[in-house]
């Protein structure tokens, strides 16, 4: 790509192609909002799908210990595949669609989440489980009212890692035009437009921290016993 000579046509920082440019934020706010909204929904949908699939997988791995190695091994393998390659491998199946990006990102999320959920369930104290069984809790009630709540801190820790990683990886979805803020980055690679690159990058990092904070706060709200009944 040949960089055209910069001509001093206007006086604003967009024409001068400066990294920091308030003018860009105001004049392109629609573009930025659209990219941000796409980034948020791609992230949320992917992580939620990942969680919905990870939970039964983790329960399966716990119920049949022989499966645990296979589940953890497969998820490690998926996590090892670079995102650009994973999206590319999904193209014959789901085409150049948001589905390709969501499928890939959901796979990465679930590989992270399965491990944290398995870990969290393992960490539930055996005497608590026995006490609940002694009180006549069935398997399902035990799971939903005792084991999962006690595994929640580990699950939420996994959600934090999954959400933050997914925000970063969503940018690669720009290869099929569904990359949220990544679309702005890819566009700016060709135009060498610096304010757009810095703005999109900063928004990505801020978005990741926002998701992280949101999960931390909701964890505090969902596990009141960790504060109320400090031992």
């Amino acid at each position: 790509m040949v960089l055209s000579e910069e001509a001093p046509v206007g006086e604003n920082c967009m024409v001068r192609n400066e990294w920091i440019c308030p003018e860009y934020l105001t004049s392109r706010s629609d573009l930025l909002t659209d990219a941000l909204v796409q980034h948020v929904w791609l992230t949320v949908v992917s992580v939620v799908i990942g969680l919905v699939i990870a939970l039964p997988l983790a329960l399966l791995a716990r119920r049949y210990p022989r499966l645990e190695g296979a589940v953890v091994g497969t998820t490690t393998a998926i996590y090892t595949i670079p995102s650009l390659a994973l999206f590319a491998l999904l193209v014959p199946v789901s085409g150049l669609s948001a589905g390709t990006v969501v499928t890939g990102l959901a796979l990465y999320s679930l590989t992270i989440l399965v491990r944290y959920i398995v870990e969290g369930l393992h960490a539930v104290p055996a005497d608590v489980v026995e006490a609940a069984q002694g009180m006549g809790y069935g398997a399902r009630r035990l799971l939903w009212t005792v084991e999962l709540p006690l595994a929640l801190p580990s699950v939420m820790a996994g959600l934090r890692v999954a959400a933050v990683s997914t925000v970063a990886l969503t940018t690669v979805g720009s290869i099929v035009s569904y990359g949220g803020l990544g679309n702005l980055l890819l566009e700016a690679v060709n135009t060498q437009f610096k304010p757009q690159v810095l703005t999109a990058s900063v928004l990505c990092v801020l978005l990741a921290f926002a998701f992280d904070l949101l999960i931390v706060v909701s964890q505090r709200l969902m596990t009141p016993w960790t504060r109320a009944r400090a031992v």
């Binding site: 890692v161 720009s174 990092v205």
Partner: protein, 262 residues
């Protein structure tokens, strides 16, 4: 490739991919598989080496003196939140530029710097955590036996911290391989270029062929590093040779400090 529509038969794609690999023209030239593979391997080897040379002494030293825990955790968290693609874009349209760098190809320097940046967090944090988790009683016992600081480090702390140190290097290798793939998005070097070229030509076979090479080698690297890790774990080795079951197995536990793959 029909944008927006999927549903190409899997067999058709497989046949197309096989044909792609059999066409010698896809292997030759600057844009060919051979050159991209060499670029990718060179980038991965160089960046991992630099990250290990910089990060391992730092992480081991921080762990040895017991300081910088907060730093270690923070850099790994920030490393996870910053998109590889964003860093690559900023470096390549910024001061570093996209000049050819010998065998490393176009935008070679920008790519190398991003690779090192993303390889450092797992190397530093795992070395740090590995050193901190060495059993304090063992360290005290070694001191009581009259070991000097250097002896203690070389004969007790390092061997016991080795599994996590190697985990860090393993994560770095996988991370570097993935990041080098993303370099294609800024028209940089490496195998990712086969994929982006396929997208530009709307050639599904080429896209999938490039992705397969990237993915298969990533898995091979991961497996090789897992083997290396097994052979460097003194405790695990002792347990295995005495016939005991190794607790925990090979899979990294969640506490191990990972960062997102690119």
């Amino acid at each position: 490739m029909d944008p927006g529509k999927g549903g190409v038969g899997v067999l058709d794609v497989l046949r197309g991919v096989l044909d792609w690999f059999q066409d010698p023209s896809n292997w030759q030239g600057e844009e060919g598989l051979t050159n991209r593979l060499v670029e990718h391997l060179l980038l991965t080897g160089t960046a991992t080496l630099v990250a290990v040379l910089l990060g391992l002494p730092l992480g081991i030293w921080l762990g040895h003196v017991g300081k910088g825990g907060l730093l270690a955790v923070n850099i790994s968290n920030v490393g996870r939140a910053v998109p590889t693609f964003a860093v690559l874009t900023m470096l390549s349209i910024g001061p570093i530029g996209t000049d050819e760098l010998g065998p490393y190809g176009r935008a070679g320097l920008a790519t190398l710097i991003s690779l090192v940046l993303f390889a450092l967090p797992p190397v530093i944090t795992n070395a740090y955590v590995g050193m901190r988790e060495v059993d304090r009683d063992t360290v005290e016992a070694a001191r009581g036996m009259g070991m000097e600081a250097a002896q203690l480090l070389r004969r007790v702390e390092l061997p016991l911290a080795m599994p996590l140190i190697v985990t860090g290097v393993r994560l770095a290798v996988v991370q570097v391989w993935a990041t080098a793939t993303i370099a294609a998005l800024v028209a940089g070097p490496g195998l990712g270029r086969i994929i982006t070229l396929g997208f530009r030509r709307q050639d599904v076979s080429e896209v999938v062929a490039g992705a397969l090479v990237v993915a298969v080698i990533a898995l091979v690297l991961e497996a090789l590093m897992a083997l290396l890790q097994r052979s460097l774990d003194p405790v695990g080795r002792a347990l295995r040779s005495s016939g005991s079951r190794v607790v925990g197995g090979e899979a990294p536990a969640p506490e191990q400090v990972t960062s997102s793959s690119g």
